[in-house]
Point group: C2
Chain length 214, copies 2
């Protein structure tokens, strides 16, 4: 099977906003509360960050189960990795996730400032100054035949959509509006010329949008 | 994690019927057409029996992806394995699935007539004369720490539900009525005292019911 390029469990508001503009160390999503966009996932038994037993086993659990299924590498933007800007300093930053990040595969971090790879738990971050095509080439190598997840943030997902490099995408629309912020789309239908689009309403109030190439 | 006992992708009609009563070699589901109950799954990219490329990647694909995910063994009734009744004869029967059955794990076949294990492709069938508790104990051994799927048919799923041995269940209700046949339930709500129940309508016309223990 040809490896696929997938976006998984990506959360946006009704007005298409996936993160705020002013990211800080304290607020990785800026003025946006990630609990509002990702609360549906936190409730599921298979959420990668879950530390307690329990959690739901319905539709949304099938979606968080799919987060890692068949994935061999992730590509993320630098701002998903950390709040720093400009050249890296030796500040001991290991990402937002503590000592066991949920990826557990190689991760390509897009940055204009390359540096040596960093291994944290079962995840190794590779820092690459590259456009989407070249980054994908590297991620496919690292994924060794498995699929590649485009992990975000919004700007990175948009960049891969604009380069037409995404095969499959799951976006969860939460019932909230932000007006300002980093916007994935005006409406999901914008992508319907290139993708099949299926929309499913979940009891959580979230609408799950599934896209796959026509 | 404690291994779970799961029913996955089990198809029934609006009136709860999962198979006909008169099984023959030509009609494994008796008067019921499996295409009517399982057509939603056949359309997905991840359906285990798919031989052609293509297929949908929406909600229902996430459900067929989950068929094998984390599963280490299946338990099935004898009638799911074949149409024979009574003592086994040396007829060369290897199950309904040809030379590469979709299970690819050990499978415990419940039968009053024990025989030596049979390996077909990546699947080994173990024939066991046992009640549900003892069969589950054997399947958990064979699953080596992974989950056990209760694969059906209807009678076998009922038997494990009645013994309260099922942790999680996904049943797909197709928009058709049969009136006669092997019945899983009158209504899904019958199980709501023991299980959380989530019902999701898919564009295919199928309603997906997810159950997990309270």
């Amino acid at each position: 099977m040809t490896p696929r390029v997938r976006v998984q469990n990506f959360g946006v508001s009704l007005d298409g906003i996936g993160a705020g503009e002013e990211q800080t160390l304290e607020r990785p999503f800026g003025h946006v509360d990630p609990g509002e966009l990702m609360g549906w996932a936190f409730e599921t038994a298979s959420f990668p960050g879950r530390t307690e037993p329990g959690g739901s086993r319905g539709l949304e659990d099938h979606l968080t189960r799919a987060f890692s299924l068949g994935i061999g590498a992730e590509i993320m933007g630098r701002h998903k990795f950390g709040p720093q800007r400009g050249p890296w300093t030796d500040d001991g930053w290991i990402g937002w996730w503590g000592e066991e990040p949920p990826f557990r595969t190689p991760v390509v971090v897009l940055t204009h400032h390359e540096r040596e790879p960093l291994t944290v738990g079962a995840t190794t971050f590779h820092f690459l100054d590259a456009g989407p095509e070249q980054a994908l080439e590297r991620a496919l190598e690292l994924a060794a035949g498995k699929d590649v997840r485009i992990g975000g943030g919004v700007t990175t997902v948009r960049e891969f959509l604009d380069a037409d490099l995404v095969d499959e995408m799951h976006v969860a629309i939460s019932p909230i509006e932000y007006v300002h912020g980093l916007r994935l789309w005006e409406r999901p239908e914008e992508l319907a010329d290139r993708f099949h689009l299926e929309r499913i309403a979940a009891p959580s109030g979230v609408e799950h949008c599934f896209f796959w190439r026509r």
